[in-house]
Symmetry: C2
Subunit: 396 residues, 2 copies
Amino acid sequence: MANIKDVAERAGVSVATVSRVLNGNSPVAETRERVLAAVRELGYRPNNVARALRTARTGALGLVISDLTNPFFTELADAVEDAARSLGYSLVIGNAGERPEQQDDYIRTLLDRRIDGLLVSSAGTGSAMLREVVASGTPLVLLDRTVPGIDAPCVRADGRAALTDLAAHLAALGRRRPAIIVAPAGTPTGDERLELFRAALAAHGIPLPDERVGASLDLQHTGGRRVMSDFLDLPEPPDAVLATDNLMALGAMDELRARGLRVPDDMALVVYDDVPWFAHTDPPLTAIAQPTRDLGRAAVQALLERIEGRPAATVLLPARLVTRHSCGEPVTEQPVGGPANRQSADGPASGRPGDEPAAGRSADGSAPGRNVGRPATEQSCDEPTTGRPRGGSPTV
Amino acid sequence: MANIKDVAERAGVSVATVSRVLNGNSPVAETRERVLAAVRELGYRPNNVARALRTARTGALGLVISDLTNPFFTELADAVEDAARSLGYSLVIGNAGERPEQQDDYIRTLLDRRIDGLLVSSAGTGSAMLREVVASGTPLVLLDRTVPGIDAPCVRADGRAALTDLAAHLAALGRRRPAIIVAPAGTPTGDERLELFRAALAAHGIPLPDERVGASLDLQHTGGRRVMSDFLDLPEPPDAVLATDNLMALGAMDELRARGLRVPDDMALVVYDDVPWFAHTDPPLTAIAQPTRDLGRAAVQALLERIEGRPAATVLLPARLVTRHSCGEPVTEQPVGGPANRQSADGPASGRPGDEPAAGRSADGSAPGRNVGRPATEQSCDEPTTGRPRGGSPTV
DNA sequence: AGGCCCTACGTAATCGATTACACGGCGGCC
DNA sequence: GGCCGCCGTGTAATCGATTACGTAGGGCCT
């Protein structure tokens, strides 16, 4: 591959001139054309490695994601990638698979690669490497999950409003024995969701006793299923369950189906994370939608602030309740074909310009360009009021 | 951050010696300890950028994936990442989002970054940049999708056996009017799947007329739904539909549900790509499982061959039919909780330890560590023979 | 006309590693 | 005892860019 020296020779100038023409740092006139011609003829492309060495900027960001196969994180990663790209950065990605050692491994590799900044949705709460990252001075932004003792801004969703709405929703529907499936003990995210939910329920005089708080053994299908099973074996089983992660929700649903129980008749079910296919299940699931793409964008934004030397603050973006049919009474609706909060992207650095139809209340639920030639599924196929006419099985 | 010179000074040796100690190139004795001590005390880590400039090897692979939010590609990306990592490579990832220009953009960026090798699951068939890649001499391996005119090995799944089995399955169940939803016209993958399916059906005397071949306008939910709608409006609608992509299948299911049609009673449905949650739908979907993780591993493998100067051949790994309940008669089963073909890896290039039992025939369907204390869902919740006892809605 | 400044460009240092080559010391061999 | 070769190490070139600094030439002012 041609290098800058080849270009210089062909254009009959020095390498400095070539560099200047290409970077536009110094105004260059007449030779400019000769240089550009040489570049074209040789198909020259600057070597980013050399440039990075000299400038101490690689133009790459690192992302260590807790579990890439978890749809929530997939979307998050996608949003991050999108935002990074639109700002001219490449993304080096690492999947920790919820294993803290692997996470540390990755962080080390990324540091060695001298990425310009690091985004981490941490698996586990006590990471030695994270401490090293802040010590090294590499800009760091935490994503979705806080890590106690790490001094870095964290971008995540605030579930308070959604959980408040959810508590009201459940209370209105007469559910008196709610339960919650949370992440393994000690996870900040899990603890927080539990406390918020409990407080929100308390406002309606509904208790959330410890026996109806199930800590899953993992953030997977298996753990969620196990907890649901335990709930169902209780002398007085819950009449509503909130699963605080989509994979755990999947397991919970399987357990319900395995026992021949029906949603929402026998059990109301609400899931955290509104992954695309939740809108396509039967019944469509009521979910707490995190503004995933906005989180990704905001995180990259915050990271750039830090890279450019400015301070960046922690960002809390509101999650919201997307009421579908898995608790009984349908209330508001989303268009079929995508979960809520899937926002079309706009300018590279945009925050959240006029996009959401203010919290879950779009009039007819049909977005332009979707449902081509068809009425919205959820309207046309689902029971008009309460009760379940076709008596379908619980299903996913 | 400390550099090699700092280490050299502290250890009282030259930089060359430090480098040799660290790379083990030359046997170094007594000074060795001093150097290692200095490295430890300074927390020195070699700068990969500088090393890459000097050695012309970055230790990074590029992956340009057609659509990261498509679960099939998510899993593929995850497998690639896993394999790359275990071989000491980092992964720079780019999501083309099925947009050829964006794909070219990414490829250019990756080339500029001097990645050691490139993996591409191409969106679109005529990529100018791909041609440049081979011209540049950067090792290239195509993933899942061939690109005519590009001289590079391609790693993908072979659907012949699966489609043959599927044709037999459908014939045995008395389905005489099959249909297929394929990718937009001209996609090699779509064309191939169509031809194989048609040939397989012909062996049973079942025709696949053009009116029951629906080319989707995109590889998304919307396109699949539209095609299913057209099928249903036919004077003689099909009695079985194969959707050749999981997102299109989702749309097809929505359309069925919207019309109040039931699977498998009113329509048999088979999907290409066995994404995790297909095993959790009601009824569980019969699917064609591509050996996703193996594909990822094989691709990285092949890429390494090329990087190391050896030739690499195209790899075809067999997909297989996972018979569940969406065509009627249940036949074989998979354990709940994971799609088929999620194979446990071997050796250092391993994916996840102790995962699935051998290919889809475990006696009771319960893998150790899963379904704790419960029988397998699909056995316990589904109708024993044919017909649908609870008369549930089609559902996802 | 001379001094100054600005513009356009070249020379060379620099980033942090790897590595070819040189060199001193020492043991073995004849 | 002298020569050869090897071992351990240092010196310096190198990868391909960016950029501080120097310089020549031209325009403008006094």
